[in-house]
């Protein structure tokens, strides 16, 4: 569908992002509650969400800080969880690369799962869309989700200070990670990566400084990439035989 103006592209992005209210709101709320449980005060939780703006990385950092992991392990692990945004950046570059640098810098801050998923689908379906309209659409997709994520963190942190210790929220964060992993298991390669990481994490749990996490993460990545390669080669061979 062609847009007549940059403005209509913005509002289209705005409307398309509406379903994500149901994701970002509760997820931000949960981060706020768990941050408060971990001892963060409300301004700290808010600063965390505003400065980092990456849900799963924030949860990862929160968990590891509670385990008193060394700072560099916390940073490496949380950034590794967030490495997918580098892929998003690479995949959007052909579409947004010709926009002014300051616009690309702004857009980068707002590059999250939701804005990427909506935008790449739109750009691929409309190859003739001019870059200013692409930018407008992209910013439209962030306009609800961003303030919602930060506002929900504040509300969550306020609620979290009221939750009594006896509620036993200590298993909520593991459940949140598991719930995030489930939908990621899209292909056999993803499953292989996950399984390899689980087995290695158990075997390497005794390593000091939470280093087992890094070893297990790297093992999972390599197994996932290799499995993908094998499956591709197998398919290519099958096609060649035919």
């Amino acid at each position: 569908m062609p847009f007549t103006t940059t403005k209509s592209a913005f509002w289209k992005g705005f409307r398309d992002s509406a379903p994500f209210i149901l994701v970002s709101g509760p997820f931000g709320l949960l981060f706020g509650v768990l941050a408060a449980e971990a001892g963060l005060i409300v301004p700290e939780a808010f600063a965390f969400s505003m400065a980092v703006f990456a849900g799963s990385a924030q949860f990862t950092a929160l968990q590891l800080m509670q385990e008193n992991a060394p700072v560099f392990i916390v940073l490496i692990s949380a950034l590794a969880v967030n490495l997918r945004v580098a892929m998003y950046s690479a995949s959007l570059t052909p579409y947004l690369g010709s926009a002014p640098l300051w616009q690309r810098a702004f857009a980068s801050y707002f590059l999250v799962d939701q804005s990427y998923a909506l935008s790449i689908a739109k750009f691929e379906a409309n190859p003739d869309m001019p870059t200013p309209q692409r930018m407008a659409y992209f910013f439209g997709t962030c306009t609800i989700v961003t303030p919602l994520w930060m506002g929900a963190t504040i509300v969550g942190a306020l609620i979290g200070t009221q939750v009594p210790e006896s509620w036993g929220l200590d298993f909520v964060l593991p459940l949140a990670f598991l719930a995030m992993i489930g939908p990621m298991l899209r292909t056999p390669a993803h499953m292989a990566a996950c399984l390899a990481a689980v087995v290695t994490a158990l075997l390497a749990a005794g390593l000091p400084y939470n280093f087992g996490l890094i070893v297990a993460g790297l093992t999972g990545m390599i197994v996932g990439a290799q499995t993908e390669l094998w499956i591709e080669q197998y398919k290519a061979q099958k096609a060649a035989v035919r």
Binding site: A38, G39, L40, A51, V52, A54, S56, T60, A61, M65, Q66, N68, V71, L75, S77, L79, V81, N82, L83, R84, V85, M87, S89, A90, L92, T93, G97, L101, R104, A105, S108, D170, F171, V172, P174, L175, L178, A179, M180, I181, G182, P183, M184, A189, H190, A193, A196, A197, V198, A201, A205, G212, A216, L218, T219, G220, M221, G224, A225, L229
Partner: protein, 110 residues
């Protein structure tokens, strides 16, 4: 649960802020229209699906609620949350079912 100090928190927040922005801006700023080598993209695809299970596995097998002793309710709740997440693709359905399972199984076992 052990507490961490404020300076650690702020180092992590600032480090993640700079790091995340670099990851997001890196390619759009520098790469232009070049593409990344396929082997690198292939490994990047599996970072989240490797790191998150590596992080959560010890939390499930040695839960803090039991001081690190393997516990059937926690293990079962974790597997149920994972399965519901996989089948429904819905984060909150998965978390809710997992929490209910943990509570229910704990009550049943007594």
């Amino acid at each position: 649960m052990s507490q961490f100090d404020t300076s650690t928190l702020w180092i992590v927040i600032l480090g993640l802020a700079v790091g995340s922005f670099t990851l997001r801006f890196g390619f759009m700023a520098l790469m232009g229209n070049r593409t990344m080598p396929p082997w690198l993209m292939r490994h990047l695809r599996y970072t989240a699906v490797a790191i998150l299970p590596a992080l959560v596995t010890p939390l499930v097998v040695w839960p803090s609620a039991t001081n690190g002793v393997l516990s059937l309710p926690h293990l079962a709740a974790a597997l149920i949350a994972l399965a519901v997440g996989y089948l429904s693709k819905n984060l909150f359905a998965a978390m809710g079912t997992g929490a209910l399972a943990l509570y229910g199984i704990t009550v049943l076992i007594g």
